[in-house]
Symmetry: C2
Subunit: 328 residues, 2 copies
């Protein structure tokens, strides 16, 4: 009896979930739904149907958890509440400012449907949030630091691609070692945006494009690059493909706090991720929370949950007895 | 309305809990119970009574959570079940092999009393267990590594003090950097005990003691030192007091795993603690779990719990709404 998981959408993230399902013996991929022509979608798992999203309701009794692979800008605000009425769902909604509103919409829908909806699952939001929250509870007097990278930012890569004369681009977010070391040493520095991260851009220009113009457009782009030290390197299409086709990422969350009757003792908690594949790691986290959604639903729980609301034992395929004997 | 916490015992750990309570506005120390003469115990918190343990039952209605500061060898196996009948309790039971039995005893007693008993709270077991468990659920194919230190091992320091001719001693457990780097690089090494940690001993000898004999006794001591590379440095009592009176500790838990259809992508999760004061950090973790015991009990929950069973939100003094808005 495995947990029957379906996917809505088949982008990078969904493919990461698909790969993770294969590594978890208690989970099974039962369907992929798409808004495209199903015949144009080819899965990496044999024997699993690709169906048009219009057929999703007819599969209601065959799916334990629906994973929503869409984007936070337009897909998830609409899809997660919609499908939480019909299924237990998990999404990776990552627009931090809109989480309270999204939670409220999903909570209402999930309660109506008697389902569990877990939102904002992944590593940030997700694992990083969990570590920030727990570390704050343990060390209430202190400072939080989050660094991202070295890793590919797809949003920043896309922003470069929209510049005239750019054929393709890849942007790496790079934490600045000097800042990281200050935090790790317990100095509690105040750090500006520019002091925390660099932005490294690898750009393939179209033939005869004005490279000086492209570089200027990147470096002065508000929100994305203007507040950072940014390097721009023009490379060939072949080099981009060869050296920059992966989606590595990672980063670290630090909590620097004090204890003692005179606050004389310092403590540093660091959670550090080095990920060869951002979507595959995110997909792996999602599968663990899909398991939690399934177990909670079996216990009669309904409504919207986040990583804060779920006891860790629900994430594991092992029994509480096994976990106590081997992991505690 | 703060959470009323009492302590049983007043050793290093209890003093760490006492200091942490002062940093958490929603908690309050209401009593310390001791098996000694109460007049011999002087607290760091004004206005809190020190009482003989025989009076503990009479305080039943004035205490929300009793924290057990005793040792795992003889105190906690008896005390935690005994007091779980009367109070919500938290302990730091750390004899890994006996956790299943301890859980079972505390569970029975806590259910009888309608109380919550949280066992094995601290950083190992505790935070390290939590990270091991979650990281295994997220990356089911991989290897676990735990390194401790650099930090003072009180058990090993005590073992040295029992050798003839030793006046005082301090033992540091030191992770071996070369081994750590292999793990961080994703090599998945097989590591022997000797390859993972060094043991550094600072020893104050009695006048005219046979130092060669002491050094030999330390280095060949089974279980404690024989399987490690151990250094022994004789120092004066003054130097021990000046340079080695703190109780720093720390360490890191690593999970090295793979994902992908061909398991081609590596991921490293690292949780790293650098602690100036082992008992104060442990005490800080305990206060967060005392808050959880209180909240769970208010919801009508009873029985024994571990860090695996408790949703992170229970650890925080912030509301779920605040946590979602600011920490997710």
């Amino acid at each position: 009896m495995s947990i029957k998981i379906a996917l809505l959408g088949y982008g990078n993230l969904s493919r990461g979930v698909e790969a993770a399902i294969k590594q978890n013996a208690d989970t099974e991929l039962v369907a992929v739904f798409t808004r495209r022509d199903p015949s144009s979608v080819s899965l990496k798992t044999e024997g699993v149907p690709v169906l048009n999203v219009s057929e999703i309701e007819s599969m209601k009794d065959d799916i334990d958890v629906l994973v929503l692979g869409g984007g936070s800008a337009t897909d998830l605000p609409e899809q997660t509440p919609k499908y939480a009425k019909l299924f237990n769902v998990v999404d990776s909604f990552d627009t931090h400012a809109r989480i309270p509103e999204h939670f409220s919409n999903v909570d209402k829908a999930a309660k109506e449907g008697g389902n569990v909806g877990i939102i904002s699952v992944g590593w940030d939001p997700g694992m990083f949030s969990l570590l920030r929250m727990i570390s704050n509870a343990v060390l209430p007097e202190g400072n939080d630091y989050t660094f991202w990278g070295k890793g590919v930012s797809q949003g920043h890569s896309d922003a470069i691609r929209r510049i005239e004369g750019v054929k393709d681009a890849r942007q790496y977010t790079v934490p600045i070692e000097a800042a990281v070391e200050k935090v790790r040493s317990g100095e509690n520095p105040q750090l500006t945006t520019r002091e925390k991260h660099l932005r490294e851009c690898y750009v393939v220009a179209e033939e005869n494009a004005d490279k000086a113009y492209i570089e200027e457009q990147i470096k002065t782009m508000p929100n994305y690059f203007a507040d950072y030290d940014t390097t721009v390197t023009f490379i060939s299409e072949e080099e981009l493909k060869e050296k920059h086709s992966g989606l590595p990422h990672g980063g670290f969350v630090l909590r620097s706090g004090v204890t003692g009757n005179n606050k004389e003792n310092k403590h540093i908690i660091e959670y550090n991720l080095k990920l060869d594949s951002n979507p595959e790691f995110t997909g792996s986290v999602i599968v663990a929370y899909a398991r939690a959604a399934y177990k909670l639903s079996k216990e009669g729980v309904s409504g919207c949950k986040t990583v804060f609301d779920i006891a860790p034992t629900y994430l594991s395929s092992q029994s509480p007895e096994e976990l106590r004997a081997h992991m505690l």
